[in-house]
């Protein structure tokens, strides 16, 4: 590199800091030793400076009418806040996991509801307990101690026992 002149493409890349570090060092060393290449580099740098100078000279403020047109254009496309939030929620990154959780929760909910309906015969169990109590009253030696609270045992015990016996028969037949 130090013996050969640098081509203009490499000089342009060097000017824009786009050379690999090793090549950048070599070009830098060459430019300090070679006046011809240093002159070519200066010409490239002057061209860049001329471009920047032209840009500064032609620099403009954003016209007020353009700013107003932009604001009017934006105002003509209102997006409700709730819609923005909804739109964020339906993004795949958020929406998919949320949908998966929702589906899982629903599935678990239905499953627990289904198992709950299977345990619904607890009503029959209540009858069973009632029947068991009725049978206990009749056959056990301590039948005198009624399971039915005294407050409820106002002559209805027989009727209660009858229904309990029917329930007990029903359970036995099952």
């Amino acid at each position: 590199m130090t013996n050969e002149h640098i081509d203009s493409s490499t000089l342009i890349d060097y000017l824009h800091h786009e050379l690999a570090p090793g090549q950048d060092v070599l070009v830098h060393a060459h430019l300090t030793a070679c006046t011809e290449c240093a002159g070519a580099y200066e010409a490239e740098a002057r061209l860049t400076e001329a471009l920047r100078a032209e840009a500064r000279a032609a620099e403009r403020e954003l016209p007020l009418r353009v700013e107003n047109h932009i604001l009017t254009g934006i105002a003509g496309r209102p997006i409700p806040a709730w819609f923005q939030r909804l739109h964020i929620l339906v993004r795949p990154a958020i929406g998919l996991p949320a949908a998966a959780v929702l589906v899982l929760a629903l599935a678990l909910g239905f499953a627990s509801l289904g198992s709950h309906t299977q345990h619904a015969p607890t009503i029959a169990a209540a009858y069973y307990l009632d029947a068991h109590a009725a049978l206990s009253n009749r056959s056990l030696p301590f039948a005198q101690t009624s399971v039915v609270p005294a407050a409820l045992d106002n002559g209805t015990t027989n009727a209660g026992n009858a229904s309990a016996a029917i329930a007990a028969n029903t359970i036995a037949s099952e």
Binding site: H16, A57, I70
Partner: protein, 166 residues
């Protein structure tokens, strides 16, 4: 808007070399930004994103016009040759040289192709890296490099031509 409006408008002007087209591009670009703000990736340069939108819009417009260019319409917003936000530290002699050089450079820039001008503006005026330019313009780094080299060679030749005719 206050932060990026002027930069976007100037970038659009440097691409189009036309106040009317620059105004239209800036306006459309900001409306697109507003509509597509959700697609902006946090942590990346917001200005680069706007420039990419402006570049795409300009390319679409050129495609639509099929190479037809409009004459520049005089605007009430004349170029601020020596005022406005220019740094005050510039010496008068530099201003004179700058003024002498800016006209042939401006004419030479108008003669470049839109793609060459875009790469030149982004590399030399906006000082973006080749990688960033490739992302803004939507091409490979190799294409950026070759376009920039060709643009600079052509610009140098054109500036020399315009300077001798002054």
């Amino acid at each position: 808007m206050e932060q990026y409006g002027k930069a976007t408008y100037n970038f659009a002007y440097r691409l189009t070399r036309n106040d009317s087209d620059a105004a239209d591009l800036t306006q459309e670009a900001f409306i697109r930004v507003y509509r597509a703000w959700r697609s902006f990736v946090p942590g990346t340069s917001f200005l680069s994103w706007i420039y990419r939108i402006v570049t795409n819009l300009y390319r679409d417009e050129l495609r639509r016009q099929k190479g037809r260019y409009q004459e520049e319409i005089p605007e009430d917003n004349a170029p601020q040759a020596f005022g406005g936000s220019r740094p005050l530290a510039v010496e008068p002699i530099d201003e004179y040289v700058e003024r002498q050089m800016s006209e042939p450079v401006a004419k030479a820039l108008e003669a470049l192709t839109p793609d060459q001008r875009a790469v030149l503006v982004l590399a030399d005026i906006e000082e973006y890296s080749y990688q960033e330019i490739a992302e803004i313009v939507g091409c490979s780094i190799g294409t950026v490099r070759s376009r920039l080299h060709r643009a600079r060679n052509q610009l140098r030749r054109l500036v020399t031509e315009h300077s001798t005719t002054l």
